[in-house]
């Protein structure tokens, strides 16, 4: 293998992130302990910003390969990486105060979060089953640990345990499926697999068999029904920043992973996986939306809401067209941006020893702070898919893609489920605006957090008013250039 084949230069963002992560680890060991958290915060945000700049520097219009086709930089990867980096940076801003009051803003947390970021970047850039799996495991192992970071908390430990066991099982399923596809096609390279299946192995039972395991593994990771059992427990048990991470940035990476495997490698077997995704999507939309109604814990409610959103995401993917993938890509980015605000507000409202994660904690928020209540209102209506917020256009583009391939009944079904879903989002608005406050304590938050939160909610509104100004067209363009 020559150096040209390795083509290290396009993997610079990832290498750079890895190097800086080690650097932060060392600085954290030797620096002045009094300024620890301030230093970590500044270094982390700086690192993320620099990596984002590098991602832009290596971006290219046509796909470029490295490590003998194991690693690819295309437009989809670039956009997803930027979205991930922005999401993680937002997470740091929102969660700093929350973690500091709980003495969890330590070197270990930052390290794990940056490793998880690295894993996600590898996932969306991987072009080979081995590198896909590597990225996934870097992400997963860091996340398991982060969920358990608050080691004195029994619920967090329980959540981490569940997440770990089910996640490991899912990884096993995924590997098993991958190995069967390898057996059928003789390669682990995404492009080679796609070609082999398309030309000679489309109806090979071994491929179909492997496909079932791959889809099951992916469904576990995404948390769609019937592989969703871990989601509510992890959301509820994990410290809020970790739940936020699982519900935003890591979903973006999961999308990239899904498209690389199903949309690219196994595109020749699309007919087979479409049927499976229909079942997963239908079940997720029903379970997610209906069970969310019965929740009293806000984080749990958001967990079920995530399940239903993942069902919607699958709708776009099961269309099996580039328009469908682009719609799902727009959907997942829009969803991640929106859920950042929701979790951000939970952290804004929580104090030392008080988690603010019950739905009742939101009662009368409009009386306590009209501004925060308004931000949450924007989030909830966006998630419910009401215009003029971004959630509406995300739903619109997915429904259009599904209708385009002729699944009329699926569209009508998704629409019905959205009405059920609207109920529990409305209930949040009702609690904030129509009930009297129980808790009268003032809401304290740093200026940075307040402004970022406002900008974040403003983006939810702005992307709703002007989705064509950028993201929507960009997603389609990226998918067309990448697949």
């Amino acid at each position: 293998m020559t150096l040209a084949q390795i083509n290290l230069s396009i993997a610079r963002p990832e290498l750079f992130l890895l190097g800086l992560t080690f650097f932060i680890m060392l600085v954290d060991l030797f620096g002045d302990p009094a300024k620890r958290s301030q230093r970590l915060y500044a270094l982390t945000l700086g690192t993320l910003a620099l990596v984002a700049v590098y991602v832009l520097l290596v971006a290219s219009v046509s796909p470029q390969y490295a490590f003998s086709n194991m690693f690819v930089v295309d437009q989809m990867a670039t956009i997803l990486k930027l979205a991930i980096l922005v999401g993680v940076a937002g997470l740091f801003v929102y969660s700093r105060a929350y973690l500091e009051t709980r003495r969890m803003f330590t070197g270990e947390f930052v390290l794990l979060m940056l490793f998880a970021t690295l894993g996600m970047m590898v996932m969306v850039s991987a072009n080979h089953f081995i590198s896909l799996y590597l990225g996934l495991e870097i992400l997963a192992l860091s996340t398991y640990t982060m969920v358990a970071l608050n080691r004195d908390s029994a619920t967090a430990t329980e959540a981490a345990m569940k997440y770990f066991i089910l996640g490991a099982l899912a990884s096993g399923l995924l590997l098993y499926g991958m190995s069967m596809i390898y057996g059928a096609t003789g390669s682990l390279d995404v492009a080679v697999i796609a070609k082999t299946i398309e030309f000679s192995r489309a109806n090979d039972p071994l491929v179909t068999f492997g496909l079932v395991f791959v889809v099951a593994g992916l469904a576990f990771k995404l948390g769609v029904v019937p592989f969703h059992m871990w989601v509510p427990d992890v959301y509820e048990g994990a410290p809020t920043p970790m739940a936020m991470f699982i519900g935003s940035a890591s979903k973006i990476a999961a999308f990239g992973f899904l498209v690389r495997i199903l949309g690219d490698a196994l595109s020749g077997a699309a007919h087979d996986w479409q049927g499976m995704l229909v079942i997963l999507a239908v079940a997720s939309l029903a379970v997610g939306n209906i069970i969310a109604i019965a929740q009293t814990n806000f984080k749990r409610m958001l967990a079920y809401s995530t399940i239903s959103h993942m069902g919607f995401l699958l709708l776009g993917i099961l269309a099996g067209t580039k328009v469908g993938y682009a719609a799902s890509m727009f959907y997942i980015i829009a969803y991640a941006i929106t859920s950042l605000v929701a979790f951000g507000i939970i952290m804004l409202l929580s104090r030392d020893g008080f988690e603010a994660d019950k739905l009742d904690d939101l009662k009368g928020l409009n009386d306590r702070s009209p501004w925060v209540a308004f931000l949450m209102l924007v989030t909830m209506f966006s998630m419910a898919g009401i215009p003029p917020f971004v959630g509406f256009f995300a739903k619109l583009s997915v429904l259009e893609a599904v209708l385009d391939v002729g699944y009329v009944w699926l569209v009508v079904y998704a629409v019905m489920m959205s009405v059920i879903g609207a109920f529990y989002y409305l209930r949040v608005v009702k609690l904030m605006y129509m009930d009297a406050p129980v808790d009268h304590s003032p809401i304290v938050a740093g200026q940075a957090m307040r402004s970022v939160l406002a900008v974040n909610a403003f983006v939810v509104l702005l992307l709703g008013l002007l989705p064509g100004a950028g993201l929507m067209g960009l997603c389609l363009h990226a998918i067309q250039r990448s697949l």
Partner: protein, 495 residues
Amino acid sequence: MQTSSYMLSLTIWVPIVIGILVLFLHRDGQNSAARWVALIGSLLGLAVAIPLWVGFDNASGAMQFVERFVWIPRYNIHYALGVDGISMLFVLLNSFTTVLVIAAAWQVINKKVSQYLAAFLIMSGLINGVFAATDAILFYLFFEAMLIPMFLIIGIWGGPRRVYAAVKFFLYTLLGSLLMLAALIYLYNVTNGSFDIVDFHRVPLGMTAQTLIFLAFFASFAVKVPMWPVHTWLPDAHVEAPTGGSVVLAAITLKIGAYGFLRFNLPIAPDAAHALSGFMIALSLIAVIYIGLVALAQSDMKKLVAYSSISHMGFVTLGFFIFNTQGIEGGLVQMISHGFISAAMFLCIGVLYDRVHSREISAYGGVVNTMPKFAFFAVFFAMANSGLPATSGFVGEFMVILGAMKVNFWYAFAAATTLILGAAYTLWMVKRVIFGDIANDNVRNLTDINARELAILTSLALLVLYMGVYPKPFTDVMHVSVDVLLKHVALGKLN
């Protein structure tokens, strides 16, 4: 043809922007500032709507005051506005009603004043957008976004069961409109990528497709109108909403449903509309007669007027689905007239409620003795509501009955019973509330309407009279547009 642009954008964005400004006046002691800013905002909103009336070309059936910009290139969605003879009057009606609602809230609303006023201003802009949009997604955006302020208005400032009513209102309308969204996306695919409503009008469609599209739009608009049997949200919403909310609901939002039938159902699925007209007429007549009877049995004034609204809207949909000029124009006149009269009725009830805090008919009696000026207006609007000649209530009903007579005598006969039923429930309520001896101490202590209330009710009374005596300016505006629509519908899409 009048081409001066941006007029419609102004009618949409002036109220919204001022509404957002009002939101910032939320501290204690800023209430009166918020009220004045909101009033000025609503007057400005009305002022920018007047040129539509002045500059409107009655001889043209095309869209006027057209604005068109690319908005979302990915889906070929445009920010496209325009009004024709069907929609122009509603923009005016809505801008006018907003002024009344802001004025009516002056001393009455004391809780979260700025949010209340802002919600109405923002909603006013959104509703103008509904009537002015000529791009289906833009229409849908305004149509849905409008639910948010209305949801908050009912839920925050409403009566005891306000939360139930607000949620019911929201979910009912959302279900209908999401089905419409599915139909819009389908049409987008059929027209090879256009969301322009005019393209939807032109695209040929088979009978099955037309029927399904008709039903999807029907689900959305029938809930909004509301038609029997999906009307059950309206009495709840009306009763629990604050006075201003009831006024906007009755005077404007119900009209959006009927407007949707004219803008979407008839021209996009003309053959299905013909095929299903018997069904639509049946539902309309049930609304007219059965809901009229239900209104007779009410003991709550607001509920009574709410049911009366449903019954009157039955008249409108009846007019639309008999497919002749008198029918459709009668329906439109009835919509405008009902906008004035129902607003006035709810404001009258509001006047009483603010003083006594009861909506029960039995809580009153002999109000004329203590509030003579108020009694004059209450009796006048009650007469108009029951369709007395020389009031606007008569014109629309008479035209629809004439139109129905051309189609089938029995339609006209059944519809005409409203003249009896309407008179019965309205006048009976007036008799029990206004006339007779003074019923109790509450009534004895009533004070008559003040200058503000007098101004509001007088302006409405003058409009009701003007439209009743001389409806020609109104029918002239809609005439050409209705003709164009009828020709299009008669032609059908099947060949």
